[in-house]
Symmetry: C2
Subunit: 334 residues, 2 copies
């Protein structure tokens, strides 16, 4: 079975770990391709950092800091201390020593002329994540967030409030998404080409999965790469999404702040509407069972517990997504 | 007093630390400019490493690993372990975590368009070495060593032995200079321009010092930068050298292997001959007191203990070099 999944960071990675666990436990032969979001990539200290790709790679390769969900386990921060002593780079994004090695190798490979796809494949030779990990694009796309930037001493009503665009990571990590996003821009996305294999992986899949990743800055940017959305609309495979919203709140992260920025309410139903043009099935939590009503928006909706509390829970959710796909395929062919 | 010193790595750095100690102890107001060798620079993991500049910067800035003479004190090797796990870079050159931060910052600054001079000055803002540290050139010069590279199973007499050129660091660090150097090449030196301030620092100095650095791959490459040797010949300042050879053996390092490669015997006298066209005074160890005979080669030779056993010993040697310069200046003006 050829499975293709679109993934952001922590939520996507945990879902994928559950998926692989499920496939292994059932001894289901399968090829899994993961199309990773690269729009939260950032250059720090001259090193190219790809947080979502790395979170997937570390999680599936056994190197992730489990409690944290991102970064390396048993991490050290000696280099970060030295970089700070040099006054280098932003203080709000600390790279651990182990993690840093990944960025050093990636930056060297890119500098030697490799594409991000090739560099990612090379990094994965170490981690053997058990999936084919593809960046959504080899072209640089970076999410920027437009925030209010009032002048010194400016009070409400005191004329229009100036805005400025900050890198997504600054908004997310430094500002903890607490400053309202007036606009979310995926800079470079119009010119970005899907990385080699991305469109084929969607077209030729038996199942396409949308893990419970951020619908705006993770799944949303992947969908924004020209050609990806069309491939999803046209693939013969069922496309199954797992809601990242439970009972009106994001399972983790700050998806609500991102949804608000694009004028979408924080609900499983509203997220399904973002995917309505290509979604075959939608898994929502039991708390949202009554909320999304087929067939207007999504052909099939199933509800079940969606909290990925541990590996078994994640595996069960992934299994339910595959079961939903199988049912849809059967119905189509029966 | 304007003092300009040419310097390689460990020997040069220890001499300079002694010099600063001497100047401070005597409360002698002075500006010290150090022209550092950059021909053993190397790019590792995509990061630009400048071993001699860093050894001077760390030694004078208080960050050096004292026993070792190079690298940072209290060093860690977490990143190196990760880089090895990726199979990245040569296994024979291990970069410590603290040291690595320097290379990351330097590489970023160079990538942002700074010259090596500017990047070095920026790094020195942290270390405050108490000298103006200039690279010999902002252009890339790299010492390569031609070594025998016999074919598999080739025995002596079995036709000409093929050779190959390896980076100086590979010869020095991996091969420990145990494979004879057939030739030592400073690749890029003909086109290298002296870094801003280098020629002026020699021309406008009150004293020029040559610490006991390697006469071939440290002082030798600095002298090879077009314009430097002429500046030394024409400066009004006395040029005082400190022999790196004591009783026919290098004080430290493997200078003998380098001297052999260029067909020069390992003696204080033979090294003085390399500098004879510009040297005003030459400090040799007591063991070599009878060996160099003025005035044929060098105007003035003095002998004294030259082992830099501790800071006081280094300071005394530096003081003796300054005294020798003062005597020569006095004689010239008297």
């Amino acid at each position: 079975m050829r499975i293709t999944a679109l993934a952001g960071g922590i939520g996507g990675a945990r879902f994928l770990r559950g998926l692989l666990h499920h496939l292994n436990a059932r001894e289901l032969p399968s090829d899994v391709t993961v199309i990773g979001n690269t729009a939260d990539d950032i250059t720090l200290h001259g090193l190219r950092v790809c947080p979502d790709l790395d979170t997937v790679m570390y999680t599936l390769g056994g190197g992730i800091h489990n409690d944290q969900g991102w970064g390396r386990e048993d991490e050290e921060f000696t280099v970060a201390g030295e970089l700070a002593a040099y006054g280098s780079g932003p203080g709000w994004f600390t790279l651990g020593d182990r993690d840093l090695a990944t960025h050093i190798v990636r930056t060297r490979l890119l500098g030697e002329g490799m594409t991000l796809s090739e560099a990612t494949a090379t990094l994965c030779e170490r981690w053997r994540p058990g999936v084919r990990l593809l960046p959504m694009s080899d072209d640089r796309v970076e999410t920027h967030v437009v925030v209010d930037d009032p002048a010194d001493g400016q009070v409400p009503g005191d004329g229009p409030i100036p805005t400025r665009a900050v890198h997504f990571q600054e908004w997310w990590t430094r500002l903890h998404a607490s400053v309202p996003a007036r606009q979310i821009l995926a800079v470079g996305i119009e010119a970005a080409r899907p990385a080699p294999g991305v469109l084929e992986a969607i077209r030729e899949a038996d199942v396409v999965l949308l893990p419970p990743s951020n619908p705006v800055v993770s799944i949303g940017t992947i969908l924004g790469v020209p050609g990806v959305r069309d491939a999803l609309r046209n693939t013969a495979a069922p496309v199954i999404g797992v809601s990242p919203i439970i009972a009106g709140a994001p399972v983790r992260g700050m998806a609500d702040a991102c949804l608000t920025a694009i004028g979408v309410e924080t609900s499983a139903s509203a997220v399904a509407a973002l995917y309505a043009d290509f979604l075959s099935g939608w898994l929502v939590d039991e708390a949202d069972a009554g909320e999304v009503s087929p067939p207007e928006r999504v052909p099939v909706v199933r509800s079940r517990p969606l909290l990925m509390t541990d590996l078994d829970a994640s595996a069960a959710i992934a299994g339910a997504a595959l079961d939903l796909a199988a049912g849809i395929r059967q119905a189509a062919h029966g």
